[in-house]
Amino acid sequence: MESIKLVAVLTIICTVAGALLAVVHDVTEAPIAAASVKEKGDAIMDVLPKCDNQPVKDAITIEADGTSWSFYVARKQNQFVGAAFETVSSQGYGGDIAIMVGVNADGTVQAIEVLLGHKETPGLGAWITGDAFRGQFTGRSIADTHWAVKKDGGDIDQITAATISSRAVTDAVQTGLAVYVAHRDRIAAVRE
């Protein structure tokens, strides 16, 4: 019968396709997982001070103001040297901006990294990923800095014509730092 043949062909093709995909999935599962872990790990390592542990694994989750924060702890010779955390601003020009912030043990920023996936405008807001903008956060702490862009009377140089993005990053970093400061002891106490 005609229609049975139709159904049969379609079913067979689907089954074969399914099997094939399962195989490929099987093969790529590990690399994909590794790639996303590495993606994160790379970002974390980029912002942390030199350390000899594996911060991705030394993580602690802290609940603050209704959000949960993951802190990745860096140690050198078993000494707490700093931590990295991801902070997200929903005030970006194009939507959420996720930033990886690395702090030293003394609470000063080691470095920040804007994570992929932000939707700021190329050529404008996207400059928040540039060294010039990110660089100015290094060395700042919650206390010694007026956490606002210059336009709003603060200390951070905004990117020209991208105040919104600059503001978003600034706010996000500040919020994260505050959480860090508040919970520094718990974070520093993390052990493998």
């Binding site: 020009y93 709003d152 020209t160 014509a161």
Partner: protein, 332 residues
């Protein structure tokens, strides 16, 4: 052989109007605003206006030549595009950017469609918006010149009144100044920051009056536009006076007058029927206020007009007049 008689289809009489004459009238109407611009911004105004006009006329001539068409600059419409584009630029803009905008306006927005009459979008506005998006830094850097408070903090301003309001509302949630008779006068005569053509509402209104008298424009679009803005801003203002300035401010600040009088009225890109013009003007008004109040930009005139340009064919279609005799009337 003697000259041959001319044979053409009727009518054999003509009102004597011509495109060139209309365009010349518009240029005349733009003179007061050009004077005001020169008074306010001096050399920069002259520099930008001449750069834009030259670039527009030249690119029109060159592109038409290149397309194998007759020169077509004598209708003067490119001159208007040039002046109006310049009017929409901040005084400090580098000359080369003005030239890029002019070429974009004339070549991409006008000549690619076949030249005058065929362009669906207002070339000068498309040029401005292209520049605004391409070079936001330059397009939002305002000159610093002495302007009395309240339109400027400490007598020097680097922002337009609308920009001031927008940032103030966004940061402090309060209005930066109150709007009173003095502020209105300041805005009206042109003591404010902004694009070179939009500083003086008075000069623009004068030009508009001239165009009305010369029948270059009809009252429908400007009135509907300004009326809708007034209405919309009045509602907002009455609803929440702490967050919204009163309608007078919205009317006088920014590019509204320039847009309503000179740019929304561009006949090529606006509807042909009177009813359509009213719809067009009202649409511009709504969109302008939408952007001013909730949008990412402090000023929405350019976008509003461009968006309404886009729906103009639909408006024309929807507001087709009822043909005489279309409804069967039996004996009265």
């Amino acid at each position: 052989m003697s000259e041959l008689a001319i044979v053409s289809s009727s009518p054999h009489a003509h009102s004597g109007s011509s495109v060139q004459r209309i365009m010349l009238d518009v240029i005349i109407a733009l003179v007061p605003a050009m004077a005001a611009a020169t008074y306010a911004f001096g050399w920069d105004a002259i520099r930008l206006i001449s750069a834009c006009v030259l670039a527009c006329v030249a690119s029109e001539g060159v592109s038409r030549k290149w397309m194998g068409r007759d020169l077509g600059v004598e209708d003067l419409s490119a001159v208007i595009t040039g002046i109006l584009l310049a009017f929409n630029l901040p005084p400090s803009l580098p000359t080369w950017m003005a030239v890029v905008g002019s070429v974009f306006a004339i070549v991409i927005c006008k000549q690619l469609f076949g030249g005058i009459g065929y362009n669906p979008f207002n070339p000068a506005l498309a040029g401005r918006v292209m520049l605004l998006i391409s070079f936001p830094v330059f397009m939002t850097t305002w000159s610093t010149w002495g302007i009395p408070a309240p339109l400027a903090v400490d007598a020097i301003t680097t922002a337009t009144p609308l920009g001031l309001v927008k940032t103030a509302i966004a940061t402090t949630g309060e209005l930066p100044f109150t709007f009173n008779g003095a502020t209105a006068l300041q805005l009206f005569v042109g003591n404010q920051n902004g694009c070179i053509g939009e500083v003086s509402a008075a000069a623009l209104l004068l030009g508009g009056l001239y165009m009305l008298v010369r029948r270059c424009i009809s009252w429908h679009i400007p009135v509907a536009y300004l009326g809708t803005v007034t209405l919309f801003s009045a509602i907002l203002w009455l609803h929440h006076p702490q967050q919204n300035l009163n309608p007078g401010f919205h009317l006088l600040a920014g590019g509204l007058m320039l847009g309503a009088i000179f740019m929304a009225t561009d006949m090529v890109t606006s509807p042909v029927t009177k009813r359509g013009m009213l719809v067009f003007g009202a649409g511009c008004g709504l969109l302008t206020m939408l952007v001013r109040k909730w949008g990412g930009y402090p000023e929405g005139v350019s976008f509003a007009i461009l968006l309404m340009n886009a729906v103009t064919p639909l408006i024309n279609r929807a507001t087709r007049p009822r043909v005489f005799g279309a409804v069967k009337k039996k004996k009265a």
